[in-house]
């Protein structure tokens, strides 16, 4: 145990020490922290009133424990997600994995050590999410001191089981699915898995509630009925809720003991699985498949292309072949629209096709504004643009000695973000035309505006990245981690487009589609020209001075 403790301490020290972080990073971290305080305050207030109103509406039917159920279920889902990615990178993809394996430790000790950082981060999230929520519930239900004692214990226990089970799942998959032969492919697979998981859960929950839709009233009037439904797939969430609903009763105590027992069981299972299977999954990592070049490929593979196309393909291949870029850029940029499609399709198939119906009631003018606002948000969060230069890392200097015009390099990067946005735009188009059944005219205007918005957001991201690119990375994740650039980009986009949307909304003459289209064409054209001019200026200033 002493050795495990040493390992854990070392891991934590390595992760959380401030050595090697630049002042810039420290300052921006401090700024972020200060910025978060009012935001956090706002969220907490919202949470409080949400819990309050839910309590008020559910307590007459004695269904108030649904709130607790929902709370435990949602944090469990969130913890599963966070754990999936942190455990994978800590257990399998971190650079230091191999150096620890060569040390004389038992597998379970290494697993415990490697779990320390992800687990502690999970407690951070736990403190932000669950602790205040339980507190608010206690206040609204005018609970006794026993409730708060139980709540504190359950707060401390809740992250353990999702963490342990997810980690076990990951270790299991890595051991048996035999995907670990190729590290890159595994990373991609896991990225996709997370994505599919969210959508899957969504479909599942929705289908389930649709089925039971008719019996809803019955469920609501029956005590604990609603709770059963909500927590069906997460037994610990159910036990925790019951225990907290009647803490001073025997049932409450029994359920609390049950949760404690399950938690201990989870930890033991986690250590056992780690001891058995962790090494077997890790040792297969590294290396890729070798192939032999075929003579008949030569002619096909040596086709002549314009430099811009060649650069574009190089960028695209890099994004598709680098797991971190693939998940952070491609999957992420598609996530928003695809998620939307899934929700809308399911809604409209059930009894709740109210959204389409609601939109039918809107004027074309309102529909257009809402669609455009949504598109701006969807395209604005695409990290392809704000990682344009940083993605190159230490290979950036290759652009400098090759006889390629700066304009071509920059344009190829703009085209990449534009192209990836095009995928999202296509998905949103399908929703607009087939699910929301907006008129072709509105769709066409929206499409043209979206293309311009896509180009503008691409430029904003690129300009910001050009200003202060992160080229000196050793792991691709550093391109995205701890950089404020995505937030900055969103803030600037908000400023740029809010003016346009406000004018469209407020000026009466823009109720007319012809005038609003003309106005948008003018506004977007102007923004585009200013952006292009500023970009050219920045490129002249910075392009040759960027060094890794």
């Amino acid at each position: 145990m002493a050795k495990t403790w040493i390992l854990i301490k070392t891991m934590l020290k390595m992760q959380f020490s401030t050595a090697g972080k630049s002042d810039m990073e420290k300052v921006s971290f401090g700024c972020l922290f200060i910025m978060v305080i009012p935001f956090g305050f706002f969220i907490l207030t919202m949470l409080n009133s949400l819990i309050g109103s839910l309590y008020a509406s559910l307590s007459p039917t004695e269904n108030e424990n649904v709130i607790l159920g929902l709370l435990f279920v949602s944090v469990t889902i969130i913890y599963i997600f966070v754990t999936l990615s942190t455990v994978l990178s800590s257990f399998y993809f971190a650079e230091d994995v191999e150096s620890f394996i060569s040390l004389p430790f038992q597998p379970y000790q290494i697993v415990m050590g490697k779990a320390a950082v992800p687990f502690l981060s999970l407690y951070g999230i736990n403190t932000i999410l669950l602790l205040p929520s339980l507190l608010f519930y206690g206040i609204h239900s005018q609970s006794t001191i026993v409730y708060y004692a139980f709540a504190l214990i359950l707060w401390a226990l809740t992250p353990v089981i999702p963490f342990a089970l997810t980690a076990i799942l990951v270790i299991f998959i890595m051991r048996f699915a035999n995907i670990s032969k190729n590290k890159d492919r595994t990373k991609m697979f896991m990225g996709m898995l997370g994505f599919l998981f969210i959508i899957g859960i969504n479909i599942f929950i929705r289908l389930d509630s649709n089925q039971n839709g008719t019996g809803m009233e019955e469920i609501i009037t029956e005590q604990n009925g609603l709770l059963d439904l909500v927590t069906k797939f997460f037994p610990t969430a159910y036990f925790s809720s019951i225990s907290l609903t009647s803490p001073s009763s025997l049932t409450g105590v029994m359920y609390l003991l049950l949760v404690i027992a399950l938690t201990v069981g989870g930890i033991i299972l986690f250590m056992t699985v780690g001891q058995q299977w962790y090494f077997k999954g890790v040792l297969g990592l590294s290396g890729g498949k070798r192939s032999t070049f075929k003579d008949n490929q030569l002619s096909k593979r040596t086709r002549k292309q314009p430099v811009l196309k060649s650069l574009f393909l190089k960028e695209m291949r890099t994004i598709l072949r680098t797991p971190t870029f693939f998940t952070q850029i491609l999957v992420q940029s598609l996530f928003f629209p695809v998620f939307l499609v899934v929700i809308l399709l399911l809604e409209s198939s059930g009894s709740l096709s109210s959204l389409a119906a609601g939109i039918e009631g809107w004027s074309a003018h309102t529909t257009l504004i809402v669609l455009i606002a949504f598109t701006i948000l969807g395209l604005g969060v695409n990290p392809a643009a704000s990682s344009s230069i940083s993605r190159d890392g230490k290979t950036w200097f290759n652009h400098l000695y090759l006889p390629i015009a700066a304009r071509d390099v920059i344009n190829s990067k703009l085209l990449i973000s534009f192209f990836l946005n095009l995928l999202s735009i296509t998905v949103i188009s399908v929703v607009i035309l087939f699910v929301l059944q907006v008129s072709i005219l509105v769709w066409a205007i929206w499409l043209l505006a979206s293309l311009a918005i896509s180009w503008i957001t691409s430029m904003i991201g690129l300009i910001l990245d050009l200003e202060q690119p992160k080229l000196n990375w050793t792991d691709e994740r550093e391109v995205f981690k701890g950089r404020m650039i995505g937030l900055f980009a969103l803030a600037i986009e908000a400023l740029v487009f809010a003016a346009m949307l406000l004018l469209l909304w407020l000026v009466p003459v823009f109720q007319n589609l012809v005038f609003s289209s003309l106005f948008m064409a003018f506004y977007l054209g102007l923004t585009l020209s200013i952006g292009q001019w500023y970009l050219n200026k920045k490129v002249k200033e910075k392009y040759t001075t960027l060094q890794a």
């Binding site: 040596t302 291949r317 390629i404």
Partner: protein, 240 residues
């Protein structure tokens, strides 16, 4: 022809290259010799347009690198000292990318790519990602890329470090052939022996300043006569 005039570069708190003057005629293998930290890589980075210079000028085949940069860069091929090339590309994709950039005709690609890569023994690996290459293989794919577009000026930064004897021999042969075609081969090294084997002419750089320029015979003469150079000579032979 390469002409460096009063070339100067200062890093914060340190002058890496100071008023450097060099003229290199066509058809020569030119060695740029100096101990670690002498300023060789800094000079080469300025010659290839990677690093902006603080003073002076660089003419490559009559084109100024900072004024007509694209035209000047078209006439050079560069083999960097680090192998940070586009790792996610496959070997063949990298070579075709280079060929696109330098406008190499398709027929030339189809004949030269197999020829060069077979000479280096990396032909079979052309369909693998460069990321999976060893340091030597990366070096070889970059050299293949350079020879594919057959530049008038070939610049190499410490090209022989990390190559096995056979590859080292092949590379030296290629450098000789290139110079025999009337083109310039400019390379840096910290090993005196390499210069003696390979070069027509040599410049010795130390602490950012040129200490000597001339042919091999003159160099040996100077080493005997000049105290400063003799000390440097010892440093360079011990380094190797």
């Amino acid at each position: 022809m390469i002409e460096l005039t009063n070339l100067t570069k200062t890093y914060p708190g340190k002058t890496a290259v100071q008023s450097l003057n060099l003229t290199i005629p066509d058809g020569k293998i030119f060695g740029f010799l100096g101990p670690n930290g002498a300023g060789k890589s800094t000079t080469i980075k300025m010659m290839t347009g990677i690093l902006p210079m603080d003073g002076g000028s660089i003419q490559l085949n009559g084109k100024d690198i900072s004024k007509e940069s694209i035209a000047a860069k078209k006439s050079i091929g560069y083999v960097p000292d680090r192998s940070d090339i586009f790792l996610r590309l496959k070997g063949i994709e990298y070579l075709n990318f280079i060929a696109d950039v330098y406008d190499v005709p398709k027929e030339v690609r189809e004949t030269k790519i197999p020829e060069l890569t077979k000479q280096f023994g990396i032909y079979d690996a052309l369909d693998d990602h460069i990321q999976t290459y060893s340091h030597g293989m990366k070096q070889k794919i970059v050299v293949s890329g350079v020879l594919l577009h057959d530049p008038d000026i070939w610049i190499l930064d410490e090209p022989l470090t990390g190559l096995d004897p056979k590859s080292s021999y092949t590379l030296k042969e290629m450098m000789r052939e290139h110079a025999e075609k009337g083109k310039i081969v400019f390379f840096s090294t910290h090993v005196l022996e390499v210069v003696e084997q390979l070069c027509d002419e040599v410049a010795i750089i130390n602490q950012g300043k040129i200490q000597f320029q001339g042919n091999m015979k003159e160099m040996k003469q100077q080493f005997k006569e000049d105290d400063n150079l003799e000390r440097l000579f010892l440093e360079l032979t011990q380094n190797g």
